[in-house]
């Protein structure tokens, strides 16, 4: 199933307008000129401005910045924001956001998936609605909001 959702919720717009900033030292960054080949795993937020090839497993937020690219078999994180290139299977326990500059090929799974206008996406969208009670609210919200077009 290929889904084309050319709108995103106002909450997601807000989130994408204000890039996440963490003041703690738990933030990691793969710079624009950097290339990582191999397995990346761990805790904390990660911003990818460069290139990552390999598997990515993160207990934290993953941001693929504009100009950044990730080519992985599997990408697992708590939440994912994509403004760059991503190829692979994305599994998030929280929301997945595709910004206007995102180019994504692969399957997306998250509690909520938002796709901004201008984003390119080909693959399967999987919002799990049989989530536990505390996550169910977000998932249902995503279902009611996602198909609305502007």
């Amino acid at each position: 199933m290929v889904t084309d959702l050319s709108s995103c919720t106002s909450v997601a717009r807000q989130l994408m307008a204000q890039p996440r900033t963490t003041t703690s030292g738990a933030e990691s960054r793969i710079g624009g000129a950097a290339r990582v080949r191999g397995r990346v795993q761990g805790e904390g937020d990660l911003i990818v401005e460069g290139h990552v090839e390999g598997d990515l497993t993160l207990r934290g937020h993953l941001t693929v910045a504009e100009g950044g690219s990730v080519a992985c078999d599997t990408v697992a994180a708590e939440s994912v924001t994509i403004a760059g290139l991503l190829q692979g299977e994305v599994t998030a326990s929280g929301p997945v956001q595709l910004g206007a500059t995102a180019r994504v090929r692969g399957n997306l799974k998250g509690s909520a998936v938002t796709i901004a206008e201008g984003a390119h996406f080909s693959g399967r969208l999987d919002c799990d609605f049989d989530l536990p009670q505390e996550l169910g609210g977000t998932a249902r919200e995503a279902r009611t909001k996602a198909p609305t077009r502007r």
Binding site: S28, G31, G44
Partner: protein
Amino acid sequence: MASTVIGAGIIIEGEITTDEDVVVVGVVRGKVSAKEAVTIQQGATVEADVTGGSLTVAGTLTGNITSTDRVDLQAGARVVGNVKAARVTIADGAQFKGNVDMDL
């Protein structure tokens, strides 16, 4: 702020290649090659051959170091491996096992 930061909770098994600088606070196993400064901070564990410009080590490093500029092993550093650089400093309190080659 450095362009590439491997945070405290992050483990990378593989290769990091960059034209810019790298700061490691977490764990890297594999290979690190940078054109600019490489900093291995206190608490970091690097099991990799490291090449770069100016190299500063305050954490644990197992592997060979090759620098086009200088290598500074700071107090608290634990380094096992060979160091190849024109300028090398080993601070009081740094542990080092390996060969130093300043013949560049």
